[in-house]
């Protein structure tokens, strides 16, 4: 057991980000979709502002706009009105209704209400599904994972009607975790296709929240996987899951479609990327393309050149569990040691780590990091790092005051080199 908990009642400078943000993020990776927050209007406005600041792109999001009176007289009507309005105005392919602490507290039965709603028009083929995402559980990472799981179940209902499905030899599913950027997802897709694989990705942020598939502005998502493509997931040979938090999504596909999955807990750092490529080589029976062999040499060269700077350095880090795990493993390869690690909520993967991780806030990080020589966290941590005069590098979400957060890469040999360079900019 290497997890401990903050002793404070009060949260000072929250690291945790509400699950609904993760839910909204997941939907951005599905084309022509929109999440509807079952909430007061402010909940959605905050998320929109937070995500727009980080991604510098419009974010598809609506709300049931609950008021005090709606709660007394039944929140269900607001949900129906919101869905009707969104369909009428924008005609989305996918709608997810995300619960919040408010709708959970009034015990609004979204599942039942949505079922009734669907029964009114069984000919409507779009996907509409509820996800329970109360603030008082988990964090961004779990909200994203739960939304992907709920989406797969919903999607599977309409696939299973068209059974049997013929498996395609080179087709694989890819489920990237919430800690991976648009740039990361694009990098993984590129690697897989360089091994001759056809990839169904979901959520696919590689062309959403950055340069998008469609041009111009729309209230719906302008990028991400299309529903037509996603219906092919049942014909894949295998599902590749990246990030421990997404394992359950892989399991659901295995159960529903009889497709095995393989989990990669990280695709960052020499050993993790080596493991990925050697697995790919075996799975596809293809040689590793020379480009990647060359990138691997570059990574080793960068690690050797930088080892004077990184060796023996101690760092403070706070991030979501999968992201924290990924970076701790990589920083170990660079010879760095954690002074203090803080994460947003406890997961089984964190428990397996040798290092002690505290579940707490950015103030907990600040109070244990006097000895640290660099600080990694989202931009909210910058003030704490400043008070301790420790060099700060923004990671995770949200990041403010710099551009191209969506494109930054940390996976594969190339992404690992870029991450190494980014950290070295801060510490050298």
């Amino acid at each position: 057991m290497t997890i401990c908990f903050s002793e404070k009642k009060l949260v000072i400078n929250s690291l945790k980000i509400s699950q609904t943000v993760g839910g909204v993020l997941a939907l951005q990776g599905i084309f022509r979709s929109i999440p509807i927050l079952h909430s007061a209007q402010g909940c959605a406005a905050f998320i929109k502002a937070l995500m727009t600041n980080h991604y510098r792109d419009p974010v598809a999001l609506q709300t049931t706009a609950l008021t005090e009176l709606d709660i007394i007289f039944g929140a269900e009507q607001n949900m129906i009105k919101a869905i009707d309005t969104v369909i009428d105005k924008n005609d989305p392919s996918v709608i997810a209704v995300l619960s919040t602490a408010l709708s959970e507290t009034v015990d609004d039965d979204m599942e039942k209400n949505l079922k009734n709603y669907r029964e009114n028009d069984p000919t409507d083929l779009r996907l509409i599904f509820p996800v329970s995402l109360p603030d008082f559980e988990g964090s961004l990472e779990s909200g994203y994972a739960r939304t992907v799981e709920a989406f797969i179940v919903e999607l599977s209902h309409c696939i299973l009607e068209n059974r049997p499905v013929k498996k395609q030899g080179n087709r694989v599913n890819l489920i990237p975790g919430s800690h991976l950027t648009s740039g990361d997802v694009m990098e993984i897709k590129t690697i897989l296709s360089d091994f001759g694989l056809e990839v169904m990705t979901f959520p696919d942020l590689s062309h959403s929240l950055s340069a998008t598939l469609a041009d111009g502005y729309s209230p719906l998502t302008q990028g991400g996987s299309t529903l037509t493509d996603l219906k092919k997931i049942a014909s894949a040979q295998l599902t590749i899951v990246v990030g421990n938090s997404m394992e359950k999504a892989g399991q659901i596909i295995e159960e529903l479609h009889d497709i095995p999955y393989i989990l990669f807990d990280s695709l960052t750092g020499l050993e993790k990327v080596d493991h990925f490529f050697s697995w790919l080589k075996n799975f596809t029976q293809s040689p590793v393309p020379s480009r990647y062999q060359w990138e691997r040499k570059q990574l080793i060269d960068a690690m050797v050149d930088s080892h004077f700077y990184f060796g023996g350095k101690s760092y403070a880090m706070a991030s979501e569990p999968d992201h924290l795990y990924t970076l701790v493993m990589f920083l170990k390869e660079l010879g760095c040691m954690p002074a203090k690690l803080v994460s947003s909520y406890a997961t089984p993967a964190l428990k397996t780590m040798e290092e002690t991780v505290e579940i707490g806030d950015l103030d907990d990080l600040e109070r244990g990091s006097d000895a640290a020589e660099f600080w990694l966290s989202n931009s909210h941590g910058q003030q704490g790092a400043g008070r301790l005069s420790i060099p700060f590098m923004p990671i995770g979400f949200p990041i403010t005051g710099q551009i191209a957060n969506g494109y930054r890469r940390q996976v594969g040999f190339r992404g690992t080199i870029e991450l190494l360079l980014a950290i070295s900019q801060v510490i050298i």
Partner: protein, 449 residues
């Protein structure tokens, strides 16, 4: 809680409360087509700039956790306001009322930070489960001997605007008039509803200093708690940003006979007008004369400085989509630069704002009375606009459509108020319009068939 709300929404100086359609307060948000913030958001925006106070959000994580460190209000003193403090209610807390956690959180804040005051914000969930914020704050206040102020503005009670007003009510009920300043001067002025976005108030304060006018209380940009307490000792109030805090000004007029006016510092004309108006309200002939000379000089200087920018901006067509006082004061600033305002968003403007807007833009401009990016874009195309000027929410809407953009609302990083700010605004408008990226982004790849 109910009493505060009734007071705030019976505010006679607010046009939203007028007899028309028997409506009380601002129109409610619509499910599936809502983009605005909530009452909690509005209350937080208003009070958070009180920099040395602790601001504690009593609620589930999202209310505080998704919203802290978002605004551009700057402080020259304490940075306690930058701490995001929340009780982060768990499911157990919600079942058992959360009182215990609130009391302990207040204790922890006092032990750790020793603030002069704590603002405790209600949220939807705490209002719903019936937390008696007034009673808890009252007891804690007695125990710790510092003001602990309940802000009863849960998100689902209304719009951002209504939250501004409820926060104003909290200042009236608990803060203003509870302390005296160490000394007074003949020319003590308050700003009400000025938030020191990107430090722009400092430029104005500098002008006031040159004229011998002291800013006694800043409500609330770059303020400390004590100065808000002694705001009732000022001789003149200026309401700077919209009518959201008009209740505070009117209360001080009723109770302390402090005259107020509503003005703006956007554009040279408005800046000069406001300075002259301040002098007139102080009623001192020497000050009035000084200000007249000073503003004439400043205007001459800026006339020279803006020559080049005016050449570029003359006749350029702008669409302005913002709210409150900015919806008319920015129009007049743009017109000073020779620009034409072809469309104005009025969904967040009061009747009085709209009258002023109509006076300024004439018949040809379109007034946009609904919210949402789509209407803005349609109007922009219809009126063949050159630049969109709006809040942060619309930046990337414009950029996706390859439309030049200037950010005008609270999240921005640039100071636009006063003469100095006006020069900067002109410079940014020129840069936005002339930037090479607009040509480049429209190029098709040469290999495209």
């Amino acid at each position: 809680m109910k009493n505060h709300m009734i007071n705030a929404f019976q505010e006679p100086a607010c046009q939203h409360n007028q007899a028309q359609s028997g409506q009380q307060g601002c129109a409610p948000a619509k499910p599936g087509q809502s983009n605005g913030g909530c009452a909690f958001d509005g209350a937080q925006i208003t009070l958070l700039p009180i920099a040395d106070a602790a601001h504690l959000v009593h609620g589930p994580l999202a209310c505080g956790g998704n919203s802290w460190e978002r605004r551009g209000s700057l402080s020259s003193g304490s940075s306690l306001y930058r701490y995001g403090l929340t009780t982060d209610l768990s499911e157990q807390d919600i079942i058992f009322g959360g009182d215990d956690k609130l009391v302990k959180s207040i204790n922890e804040i006092i032990q750790r930070f020793q603030p002069p005051a704590i603002f405790v914000y209600a949220t939807c969930v705490t209002a719903l489960i019936g937390v008696d914020l007034d009673a808890i704050c009252h007891q804690a206040s007695k125990r710790h001997a510092i003001p602990i102020i309940p802000v009863n503005s849960p998100g689902f009670s209304g719009s951002k605007n209504s939250g501004n007003r409820l926060a104003g009510q909290a200042l009236i009920d608990y803060v203003i008039g509870t302390e005296d300043p160490p000394f007074q001067t003949p020319f003590d002025l308050n700003f009400i509803g000025e938030y020191n976005i990107a430090g722009e108030m400092w430029d104005i304060e500098d002008l006031l200093k040159q004229l011998g006018i002291r800013l006694l209380s800043r409500i609330t940009g770059d303020s400390h708690f004590k100065e808000v307490q002694w705001a009732h000792r000022a001789k003149v109030n200026m309401v700077v940003c919209g009518r959201a805090l008009i209740n505070v000004a009117r209360h001080m007029e009723d109770k302390y006979e402090i005259p107020y006016f509503e003005g703006s510092f956007y554009g040279a004309k408005q800046t000069s007008y406001s300075l002259r108006k301040i002098a007139r309200l102080f009623g001192d002939q020497r000050l009035i004369d000084n200000v007249a000379v000073f503003t004439a000089n400043e205007e001459k200087k800026i006339e020279q400085a803006l020559k080049e920018a005016r050449k570029v901006l003359k006749g350029k067509r702008a669409l302005l989509y913002t709210g409150g006082v900015k919806s008319w004061s920015v129009i007049s600033a743009l017109q000073e630069l020779g620009m034409e305002v072809v469309g104005v968003g009025i969904s967040k403007s009061s009747q009085e704002d709209i009258v002023r807007i109509k006076d300024l833009v004439g018949e040809d401009a379109l007034l946009i009375d609904s919210r949402g990016a789509r209407v803005v874009l349609e109007t922009f195309k219809k009126k063949q606009g050159d630049i969109l000027i709006a809040g942060g929410r619309n930046i990337y809407v414009a950029l996706k459509e390859r439309i030049p953009f200037l950010e005008i609302n609270q999240e921005r990083d640039h100071a636009y108020a006063g003469y100095t700010g006006f020069r900067q605004m002109a410079r940014h408008l020129v840069t936005a319009l002339q930037h090479p990226v607009w040509k480049l982004a429209k190029l098709d790849p040469p290999w495209k068939e």
